[in-house]
């Protein structure tokens, strides 16, 4: 294949990957604490044998939109939403993970756990235990959990120097090698959850432009094939 078609192909290849990202954003339209992701592309220069360069396109990374998702009331006292920056620390068998999905429960041993059953951690990285029969659970703005029997613990609200460098793993959990910094003036809202920050209008517009881009690339490849075919036909007629 000649270089011009290869360039168009590189664009089609990336458009397909962009569709994957849009599909994942739209699939997670109702996922608690989900952050939209977008692919970033960069120009990639191909060195031709004659010393000139041709421009192609390459994927460089996935950018995460860390903007606030809408906070909606659920009425469940164990649902918490973070208003502003920060993540809540969760203990997993593989080490601490960080999440903005604050749908928590109390398990049969009284520990505060996520919907996957992982314990929610306090600032000293220990699970939070709510005393048996501890009714009327309140979570204050700074994450302090209080029941009728007194203070049961505090949620660990942390932030990171580079939130975009956090790696997403399944279940709304993030992992990182960065050192977490406690958030001093966090705002935790009880009885509410942070919705997904995916904006359907933007995703659908992107989807449409991907569709157009794909058909342009296809037309280009078709045109190139025609051009070569015509050239070959004419060359064949040269006496």
């Amino acid at each position: 294949m000649d270089i011009s078609s290869a360039i168009a192909l590189s664009s089609q290849f990336l458009l397909q990957r962009q569709t994957d990202a849009i599909a994942n954003n739209l699939a997670n339209l109702s996922t608690t604490g989900f952050k939209a992701q977008h692919r970033t592309f960069a120009e990639y220069l191909i060195q031709n044998p004659d010393g000139t360069t041709s421009s192609s396109v390459q994927e460089t990374g996935t950018a995460r939109d860390m903007s606030q998702g809408p906070i909606s009331q659920t009425g469940n006292p164990l649902d918490v939403a973070i208003d502003g920056e920060g993540f809540l620390a969760v203990g997993t068998p593989f080490g601490p993970r960080y999440t903005r999905a604050g749908h928590f429960q109390i398990d049969n041993t009284g520990q505060l756990v996520t919907s996957q059953g992982n314990p929610v951690l306090n600032p000293t990285n220990n699970p939070i235990v709510v005393p048996e029969g501890g009714a009327d659970i309140t979570v204050s703005q700074d994450g302090t959990i209080t029941t009728k029997e007194g203070v049961a613990g505090k949620l660990q609200l942390v932030t990171f120097a580079d939130a975009n460098a956090l790696r997403a793993s399944a279940g709304g959990l993030y992992t990182t090698t960065q050192v977490p910094q406690p958030v001093a003036d966090g705002r935790i809202v009880q009885g509410a959850l942070e919705g997904s920050n995916v904006q359907p209008v933007i995703e659908l517009t992107r989807l449409m432009s991907v569709e157009r881009g794909n058909s342009y690339a296809k037309d280009f490849i078709d045109g190139e094939a025609n051009r070569i075919q015509t050239a070959l036909d004419h060359l064949g007629k040269v006496p």
Binding site: L29, T74, D107, A135
Partner: protein, 261 residues
Amino acid sequence: MRSLNIAATGMLAQQLNVEVISNNIANLNTTAFKRQRAEFQDLLYENQRAAGASSSDNGTIVPVGVDVGTGVKAAAVYRITQQGTLLNTNNPLDIAISGRGYFQVQMPDGTTAYSRAGSFQLSPTGEIVTADGYVVQPGITLPNNTVAVTVNASGQVLAEIAGQTSQQTIGQFQLATFPNEAGLAQLGGNLLKQTEASGTPITGNPGSTGFGTIQQGFLETSNVNVVSEITNLITAQRAYEMNSKVIQVSDDMAASLTQIR
């Protein structure tokens, strides 16, 4: 074409969402029904280029990696155990719990189920039973010539018997609470069952620490909020449509690829 499968997981999730919402709306008038909510989580990420990997011999690193999401799954459908409004029925055997706790109901197979629906009746022998005829534990039997029954806030059952001047205490309602109420399994018929996740029941008299109080002549209505359910329904429907649009576009793109010469 991952996008086809990703959009399919999105459509499945929204379908479940609509099912949960429709069940909430269907149970709008069910006594003591607790509304449910579907909780979703993102699926595993395919890490194609790791952030922090070195990008040159001089030690520069990749600032942002390439993480490809693979869709969504349902993590939980959980009950929101918010108190429902108490509705006055004036029926002496309609008993509502205001606060925490469940009535204990003896199932025909001998196990105990838990319920907040206090629309009780009498059995042929005068025992207090649920609308399905299951005995409420601990069993309370009204004497034959009872004129009126009073249940006070702490669950004491007092009967006024014909020919006697003072009321007689004939029983005591008991409530059960659980460390993790959301972990109770639903049996249908307003009944819940203890599971490993719920923890073991703690029983006590109404009004004591950690337990709600009893309101005679009232029923707890469902805690479904119609307005928010309808709003959720519209959102779910639109999200479903958007995911199907992704499938359509992915299909168009695949079709155009097969036409390239």
